[in-house]
Symmetry: C2
Subunit: 106 residues, 2 copies
Amino acid sequence: MTTDVVACCTPVSAGSLAEPEAAALAEAFAALADPVRLRLLSFITSATDEVCACDLVEPSGRSQPTVSHHMKILVDAGLVSRQKRGQWVWYRPVPERLEALRRVLG
Amino acid sequence: MTTDVVACCTPVSAGSLAEPEAAALAEAFAALADPVRLRLLSFITSATDEVCACDLVEPSGRSQPTVSHHMKILVDAGLVSRQKRGQWVWYRPVPERLEALRRVLG
């Protein structure tokens, strides 16, 4: 025979986000709290290959220095990687970092 | 006969995030730029059902007023819904809003 126990509250999972991981992820989310950076990230994640900095100016509607400023924040947050070849800089997403952020969102 | 054209840059997708959507999503990401709120959200998304405010105090290590303050920001950002029943408030995730944020992350 089993006894039904009705808890007063739904138990909170012990497998939830730990404090140090939350602090690191919060910094990455802060980098995304800007519409220009969100659009720049979307250009990069929706591309089939790496994206040249030169290709971010026209679709974002922002100047090259503004694009560079925002891209530096995305790179520093670990969301995008950056490689300089010749006169141009190329960007690609960092999938494992983006996946870590997606996991927090359920 | 076809001519191979090698583009100098990877084309940026026309299907990327539009400016109004980016502005709305950036506000939601701003709500996540805080480790306490990220942990509160993780408690709620990892629960199997709605979570009582009374159950967020102990795992978050924050006082009830602090929890309420942060939960209000998550609710205002549309990430969590709130229902008051009797003396307690109950929270559950807003899946379609969280999914919209996940989509930006590739």
